[in-house]
Amino acid sequence: MGSGKFNLNDALNTFFIESREMLENMESCLLELEKDSTDAESMNALFRSVHTIKGSSGMFGLEPIERFTHIVENILDDVRNGKISVDSDFIGLQLECHDFMAQLLDLFEQNKKAVLSDEMVQKNGYLIERLNSYLGGGITAPEKEEKFESQLEENDEEEDQVVSEYWHISLRFHKDVFKNGLDPQSFINYLSEMGEIKNIISVYDEMPRAEEMNPENCYLGFEIVFDGSTDKDTLENVFEFVIDDCQLRIIPPRSSIADYVNLIDELPETPMKIGDMLKTVGSLTEIELEKALELQREMSGGEVEADRNRFIGEIMVHEKMIQKPVLDKALEKQNDIKRLEEKKKKSIRIDADKLDKLINLIGELVITGANVRQLSERTGDIELNESVSSMSRLIEDVRDSTMNLRMVQIGETFKRYERIVRDLSRERGKEIELDVNGGETELDKTLIEKISDPLMHLIRNSIDHGIDSPDDRVSRGKSRKGTIQLNAYYETGSIVIEVIDDGEGLNREKIFNKAVQSGILQADQKISDDDLFQLIFQPGFSTADQVTNISGRGVGMDVVKKNIESLRGSIIIESEKGVGTTMRIHLPLTLAIVDGFMVKVADSYYVMPLDMVTECSEISMEELAGKEGGNFMNLRGEVLPFMRLREFFQEDGEAPKRENIIVLEYARIKAGLVVDKLIGEFQTVIKPLGRLFNNLQWVSGATILGTGDVALILDVPKLVQYIQKIESATLASVEES
């Protein structure tokens, strides 16, 4: 007993994870349908999602979820059959249902035996009532007529059809079904919720005599007559979990007698016995049964009247042939869908902890590999060096593929905002379209998780304050519908995410006045747009109706900025009055492991992420010196601010005759760093410095070299911004004087 025991808790967890995915699916399908209500693919995907949630919640006995989703599913089925037309109200209702289902899932995830709160019960009732209003009423009447007509047509086409308007489902369970922990009654139960079981006969002819009968084996079968407006796929799905443990045959309503003949042929019991059952259960009438049995006898009988038999046999085959092309097409389509789904499912779930552990180990491997490399280079042994360098290459590959495991496309996150844009723009009486680009851009999973809230806030902000009302837009000569663009792409050493709206743009004067009022700026102070707009990220800074009145939504713009900075990212605002606003977030690509570039100043080693280094060259003292107090150089006609790392970190000793300059770029800002010596590329793992150094600026971590020395990893984004800032200040003063 209990040989088929499986861990229910694990299964339940998977259920919640998968159901959430299904819900996400549901939401995006609904939003697709709102744009194009004829999109059959979305419609089917939507139905499947809801159907899956219903099915599996039933399996786990989560009744409230099952009951609710059942109703939603019914409605969607009607939509699929064209009985209900999709309009924006309907989508709205479905979205509410989606939210409620999410709520239910949350509730039962915490406690499988949870009871709905009064509020939820009320919501449940309210939604069901609204759903039912779609089901009832005048919709059913024309549908019946239609059914009648189609029935007539079909009758014209095929004479051998049976009268029964119901499905016939024939089930034979395998012996081990009980031992595998399955109970047929759950499937029958499930079936009974999809329609009405008109009749059901238990078949136990295969059960051996009492002495040999093992009660833990299953010898049962069922012949079922089922009434429900559904399709074969859906019915097959009912038995999805037990499909390997049973033989399932489904005959659709008004099938030809030949189908029943096949069934009689295939079932283990004698034709007479099956015939009897089919008659008793009500799928065949007496006359139909006789006809079927006769056909069956003729087909399998053989010896006598061989010629005639073959003739009839050929007719049967021929009949099947007629249906074949149609069948083939249907099968092909089904296979296409299946293949698509398989492709989607070609992934496995891994516990994030396991992945993190692997990544940590790879990190250690990278450090050790770098050590080995340095040590082997010191020996000068050529063969050893060669082996070591091919090993390093492999380690690099391993590292890259491991890091890739954590990379997730940002598109999924972007998709979620569609809902917010939809709901919020309605609430505000605005017409807004969300235009998503670069959804395939990949980001580290943790990064995505942390950026999604700030992004959401920026989008809300754009809806609230960026896009103007339709009437205002028209009076300004714009289209009624505003657009919010969401872009993601790679740029040197960083990932850029933009939120662009084509709204009013920031009001420069208003911000300036407010800043003066609150004493941040002097009334006669000159300030660049860039710096001025950064003020809206100040805590408590608000120009009331204009900039930040994100009503009670938790995070303000200051929190957005802080969050982004905590990821070592930055945000800038570009805005033009009447044209729109662009919020551009730069996030570093770098994760725990980086390809670094190592330099030396005095006796200290410094590493900077290689992808932020654009070039480096030797440079003479003359080129660096004597620029009227400012640190600038001419880089192919561009002004490049630079900084001496030696001075900056206050290293002792003399600078060498010929120094080197490294040009760094981050967030479209370039800056130079002057160092003593270039060491070269270096693969490394960022080790956090520990709490003691929490307040240390300019350094984002440290790493251990093969020699045992410690190299500091420079915080390039901060450095670049710092250099730019102090140097542009001196530049301004130089220009003024």
Binding site: D183, N189, I197, Y204, A210, M213, P215
Partner: protein, 99 residues
């Protein structure tokens, strides 16, 4: 998860079997023997009292079908008495008539 069968002679070859507890895959093995014993002991009617069956699954249902068939083969009669709510629910699902 246990089950017991209580057998009572009722005179003129009739007996009564009261099943108490679960009729599930976990208990069908032991139940089978007791029930078949009861069948053997009787020469006429077998009253099956299912009032105290707390749970029943398809394996338990199958056991009842077995009893049904064996009784029929031996020309004996099974009468189901007072099925509990759980049992009733299953009978209804399988449209098994017991009255």
């Amino acid at each position: 998860m246990n089950a017991s069968v209580k057998e009572e002679k009722k005179g003129s070859g009739d007996i009564s079997l009261s099943i108490k507890g679960d009729m599930t895959i976990y208990t069908v093995n032991e139940l089978k023997q007791s029930i078949l014993n009861g069948l053997e002991d009787s020469t006429g009617r077998i009253e099956l009292d299912l009032a105290q069956v707390s749970r029943i699954d398809t394996a338990g249902y199958q056991l009842l079908l077995l009893l049904d068939r064996e009784a029929l083969a031996e020309n004996k009669k099974i009468v189901i008495k007072k099925p509990s709510g759980e049992v009733k629910r299953l009978f209804n699902l399988y449209k098994y008539s017991y009255e």
